[in-house]
């Protein structure tokens, strides 16, 4: 096997960047390896739209820059992918939903633009759950479910995986990738790309990252621009980062964050390099353990892992203390209402007139809207719209919503 493909198994962007700089691996070679990997792993169903032709062209340009010593950024030449709810100019952006099946944006999301300006190479748009709301398994998209690469029998049998009881996993017996950024997590976990953007509202980057065994980061709200990110819940949505290592996540975050005049909820920070030191010293760092995080159905293994993490921090010199977040147990109920409300409002734009799926029922404007939305949305999305509109009823607003804003 070629040396460069071995390095795809275990890399760090800075190390790989060094190899690109020294010419050991060319950008085109790297992108080709990723493309081959993606084609071989088609059965995992992680990608919606690939942009390999465009990527090839950008790879050549990137290589030229690197060879002449003009690399734009440490990410120059690094293949990445984005979830299919980030608008990309001229490239289909579907949200894995029938309602936007043929939608082609006329502009690119700010965070994607920023990564491309650094020289990173966009390889594909990734599958996620239908409009970001369904079960947390990433099984709800119109393109079918995304499969977890772990314990999945690859068609070409490069890797043979067997369960501990020696029963071979059958093709119909696959595991979820987690959602909603399942495709992004799978692509990073399998080396189809070396970093990916997801989005995170209520765990949509962190959950699939955890289930697929990669790093998932939800940056603080306001750090990265949401311009071009098709909105679900404007007060909680954040572009998320998926990568193999924490160092890579820091590099990608540093490249994509920053105030954006097109997103007034972004915040400027004085120092946005996000460089992690080589030696990390946490002596004296205070780490709080919220007591209310022990919820009623917490699994024993999770409890033990939690305790193990506390031990690790303490052994490394941090001060680990119990703290209280007294309203934790109400957070899910709170979230469910606020999200339903914003989802109902955000889904109102899908009427079939200016963009998106348009039904054939032309008897009246309302009939067209209703038919287009019925055909375009799945049961779960519709359920959230109803709940949201219920909470937005005049009689509910004072009783429920106002109460929530103070919880």
């Amino acid at each position: 096997m070629h040396r460069s493909s071995y390095r795809l198994q275990a890399y760090q962007d800075p190390k790989l960047a060094k190899e690109l700089r020294s010419g050991e691996v060319s950008v085109s070679e790297l992108c080709n390896r990723c493309k081959e990997r993606a084609s071989k792993l088609n059965s995992l169903n992680a990608l919606v739209t690939t942009t390999f032709e465009q990527a090839e062209k950008h790879a050549l340009e990137s290589n030229q820059r690197i060879q002449s010593g003009n690399a734009r950024h440490i990410l120059d030449g690094i293949p990445f992918a984005v979830k299919d709810n980030f608008s990309t100019k001229g490239i289909r952006t579907t949200c894995a939903s029938k309602i936007l099946q043929n939608y082609i944006p006329a502009y690119t999301a700010t965070v994607v633009e920023k990564l491309e300006e650094c020289g990173a190479i966009l390889m594909a748009k990734q599958i996620w759950m239908n409009l970001q709301w369904g079960d947390s398994g990433c099984t709800d998209s119109i393109f079918g479910p995304t499969r977890n690469p772990w314990l999945y029998p690859y068609k070409e049998r490069e890797v043979t995986v067997q369960r501990s009881d020696t029963q071979e996993v059958q093709d119909t017996d696959w595991f979820i990738s987690g959602g909603s950024s399942g495709g992004s997590a799978v692509a990073v976990a399998t080396g189809m790309v070396l970093g990916a953007l997801g989005s995170d509202t209520g765990g949509s980057t962190r959950m699939p990252a955890s289930i697929c065994g990669v790093v998932g980061l939800k940056p603080t709200y306001g750090l990265s621009s949401r311009h071009g990110l098709i909105p679900l819940v404007n007060s909680v949505d954040v572009p998320g980062v998926l990568s193999k290592t924490v160092d890579d996540a820091a590099v990608i975050l540093g490249a994509m964050c920053g105030a954006d005049p097109l997103d007034s909820t972004t915040v400027s920070l004085p120092d946005q390099s996000f460089q992690l030191p080589d030696e990390i010293d946490i002596k004296g760092l205070k780490v709080g353990i919220p007591q209310e995080y022990h919820s009623p159905r917490l699994e024993e293994e999770v409890l033990q892992s939690w305790s193990k993490a506390a031990d690790l921090f303490e052994n490394a010199g941090a001060k680990v203390i119990p703290v209280s977040l007294p309203h934790t147990q109400y957070s899910l109920a709170c979230y469910s209402v606020l999200c339903a409300v914003e989802v109902a409002s955000n889904m109102a734009r899908y009427d079939g007139i200016e963009f998106g799926h348009r039904s054939q029922d032309h008897s009246s404007t309302e009939a067209l809207y209703a038919a287009s939305r019925h055909e375009g949305f799945n049961q779960v999305v519709r359920g959230r719209i109803f709940a949201g509109n219920f909470f937005l009823l005049r009689r509910s607003v004072l009783q429920i919503c106002f109460n929530l804003m103070t919880t």
Binding site: C334, S364, E366, H374, Q379, N389, N403
Partner: protein, 149 residues
């Protein structure tokens, strides 16, 4: 991941800061006033407002479950707490100067419309209210699931 999974023993001592038992309070649902009422009139109203159909009884039940979950928030005392209306709390939002920086994008704007006519978006006649069907149809076990029609 799977090959290196540790099997945790239940006797392993927890870190002293980790609570050994769940810490949540029970919410006695019988003390909650039934604020969220989902009756037939509400179902019909919601279908008109949402411009989508529930499709079946399960759809109505999903709504009722969501409302029941929201009702549990009644136990939280929010007297005197100022509502949060922005996640950025006390920061000001950045506002742009009122200068035109965009425009001449007619083709871009029209490109994704399924139906246009001479640079216009096309909509059927308005002012015709949507024909609503009675909510009681969701209680009829013989009523077809509208998704399957």
């Amino acid at each position: 991941m799977f090959t290196s999974r540790r099997s945790y023993s239940q006797d392993e001592k927890l870190h002293k800061s980790i609570p050994a038992k769940p810490t949540w309070h029970d919410v006695d649902r019988s003390t909650l006033s039934k604020r969220g009422v989902v009756d037939d009139a509400t179902v019909e109203l919601l279908e008109r407002l949402s411009l989508v159909n529930f499709n079946n009884q399960a759809g109505v039940k999903t709504l009722m479950d969501a409302v029941a979950l929201a009702d549990t928030l009644q136990v939280v005392d929010t007297t005197g707490v100022v509502p949060m209306d922005s996640v950025l709390e006390d920061r000001d939002l950045n506002l742009r100067d009122d200068i035109i920086t965009d425009g001449n994008c007619k083709e871009d704007v029209m490109r994704n419309a399924a139906l246009t006519f001479e640079d216009y978006f096309v909509a059927p006649p308005g002012n015709i209210p949507l024909e609503t069907k009675p909510a009681s149809r969701y209680r009829d076990p013989d009523e077809e699931d509208q998704d399957k029609r």
